[in-house]
């Protein structure tokens, strides 16, 4: 099943690339073991937001457009989205990303069933509650927040980081 979806998504991406089409087919990079550390390494020296969301989390969906707004306003901020759904939910995750205007941003999707481990790598005490946001300063300082974008911790951090 995994292979089939991967193939469909990849095929759609390839065809669009051939046709010179815009990036409306979102490419969900696989988010697996070690991905969190890898992201921190890739974005070292720049403020980074890693935002985890799910199509089965209504508050997550409601605030996706707010994240699009932040992304367009704060150019010095790197924002990475991680869809925490299993692979068979990815098509609907894609339509949500398109609808929220986030297709041009970096998207990952959970690619490992051992979700405890993925949670643990981002925050030892995270059990999978969503939305969940990891805020990493340019100095590498990590803060994790369960809650929406208007959570004071998230809002304050965003106000301070990037312009």
């Amino acid at each position: 099943m995994f292979g089939k979806y991967l193939r469909l998504v990849a095929a759609a991406g390839a065809l669009l690339a051939l046709a010179g089409g815009a990036a409306s087919a979102v490419e969900f990079k696989p988010y697996g073991r070690g991905s969190f550390a890898e992201l921190r390494k890739q974005h070292a020296g720049r403020p980074l937001v890693v935002h985890f969301w799910s199509v089965t989390c209504p508050p997550c969906l409601a605030e996706l457009p707010d994240w699009a707004k932040i992304a367009s306003e704060k150019k010095s901020l790197d924002i990475v989205f991680v869809n925490a759904d299993p692979d068979n939910d990815r098509p609907r995750a894609q339509s949500r990303i398109d609808k929220a205007g986030l297709s041009n941003l970096v998207q990952y999707g959970f690619a490992d069933d051992f979700v405890e481990r993925l949670y643990f790598e981002a925050d030892k005490s995270w059990r999978g509650e969503l939305p969940f946001t990891a805020l990493i300063g340019a100095d590498g300082a990590l803060v994790t927040v369960t809650g929406t974008i208007d959570d004071p911790q998230v809002a304050d951090w965003l106000a301070r980081a990037g312009k």
Partner: protein, 430 residues
């Protein structure tokens, strides 16, 4: 994915006729990519019609002593039975979901209930393509699980998820689920509405039809499982995460009134957790004295971790929440069960590498608990731990990718003084 796209591009440009080869190349590239990049495993690990290939397995014991499991692989819901709880007969297709994704995760999963007359009920929730609004369907077998009737919707119209079923000794089947219809109405009227509703219905014809289907309380948290147990009088009691005040997601336990029109109970605790989607529902058990026992997870300002409390007055009041589990190991997803041999609780802990299931038992209605003991572990993906009674004994029902499905008897040692994480307040009891 980039490498994969390149492979595909190369395939499309070089040899558009060889579709099968391209597909194979994509599969191969996908495997290489996942192996090298993120160590990502393909979910599920296999696609055969057996429990080991599923994400979740829900157990029930039939009257003849056979263990039945309901599980899904792809778009198909299966039932499989075993006489020794280890070796399963070939799975039987219970239903095939069309036009949606089946809920098959720790919180929401295909379920199975065996009725006293031998009827098997299998339920599942399918979510349509562009919505998280699901619909619950039920398939029945009246020939001992050889075949299942075409699945019938529990409720007309979408908006239902997180179903739970239980059969009373008198033969009535109760169903409860979270229902978004009131929330949708409110939204259409331009009003704010927190969460969803908790709805109840019942069947007196072995699950063929359900009566009384109604949302009885609004503002249940919409992303956590509902737990249920029968009270001494045979009426069902339900536990769920509720939205109190503006957005506090604490727990509610309530019993269905005899006329089926009300849910009567109360709030378990005030954890001060203003949050969104915990994806982490409670567990409920009721003992032979009629005491309600509830276990839950919170990450509130007032308390964080796994907690237990009980009520001896039908939910009017609950004992002081008592913490359990090792906070250093992310304790989660507790399950409670009352069996003839005592009250049991199990939960998951994770140390960064290994997921363990810990168990404790109490012979004094939850006032004291035996020392936590690891009863199973795995180093891969796993389902939530479930508890099931069979012939008076308590069993852990647990599906893992590495070990497959396991049914393990829980230790029945005498309750000892609890060794950790048990505040004194909990021992005073009520």
């Amino acid at each position: 994915m980039k490498a994969l796209t390149l492979v595909l591009l190369a395939g499309i440009i070089a040899a558009p006729a060889y579709a099968e080869d391209r597909a194979a190349a994509a599969d191969q590239a996908g495997q290489d990519h996942t192996r090298h990049m993120a160590h990502a495993a393909a979910p599920p690990a296999c696609a055969e019609a057996k429990p080991a290939c599923a994400q979740t397995a829900d157990p029930t014991f039939a009257k003849d002593g056979r263990l039945w499991l309901a599980f899904s692989v792809g778009d198909t819901i299966y039932a499989a039975s075993s006489r020794d709880s280890q070796n399963f007969d070939p799975s039987v297709v219970a239903a095939t979901a069309t036009g949606g994704v089946i809920d098959a995760n720790g919180e929401a999963r295909p379920k199975i209930v065996a009725l006293a007359d031998g009827t098997l009920l299998v339920s599942y929730t399918a979510r349509p393509e562009k919505s998280y609004n699901g619909s619950i369907s039920i398939a029945r077998s009246t020939d001992g699980g050889k075949s299942f009737s075409a699945a019938q919707p529990l409720v007309d119209g979408a908006g239902q998820r997180f179903d739970i079923f239980l059969a009373s000794p008198k033969g009535r089947v109760y169903a409860a689920w979270l229902d978004k219809r009131d929330a949708d109405e409110a939204r259409k009227a331009g009003k704010d509405f927190a969460g969803s509703g908790i709805a109840v219905g019942w069947s007196d014809d072995g699950g063929k039809t359900f009566a009384g289907k109604k949302i009885l309380l609004d503002h249940a948290c919409e992303c956590c499982r509902v737990s249920a147990a029968l009270d001494r009088d045979g009426l069902p009691v339900f536990a769920w995460r509720h939205v109190f005040g503006t957005n506090l997601r604490d727990h509610y336990v309530a019993k269905l009134s005899a006329n089926g029109a009300e849910l009567l109970g109360g709030r378990v605790s005030e954890d001060e957790w203003a949050t969104t989607c915990p994806h982490h529902g409670p567990s409920l058990a009721i003992d032979s004295a009629g005491t309600w026992h509830v276990a839950w997870f919170t990450n509130g300002n007032a308390r964080k971790g796994l907690f237990y409390a009980r009520s001896v007055d039908g939910g009017k009041s609950f004992s002081e929440p008592a913490k359990f589990g090792d906070d250093e190991r992310t304790p989660s997803h507790a399950a409670l069960l009352f069996a003839k041999s005592g009250l049991y609780r199990v939960w998951k802990e994770f140390d960064g590498t290994t997921t363990s299931i810990l168990a404790q038992m109490s012979r004094d209605a939850g006032k004291s608990w035996s020392a936590p003991r690891v009863v199973a572990s795995t180093t891969g993906a796993s389902d939530h731990p479930l508890l099931i009674e069979h012939k008076g004994a308590a069993y852990l029902s647990w599906l893992t990718h590495e070990q497959g499905y396991r049914l393990l008897p829980l230790p029945r040692e005498q309750a000892a003084a609890t060794t950790r994480a048990q505040p004194a307040a909990a021992l005073t009891g009520k």
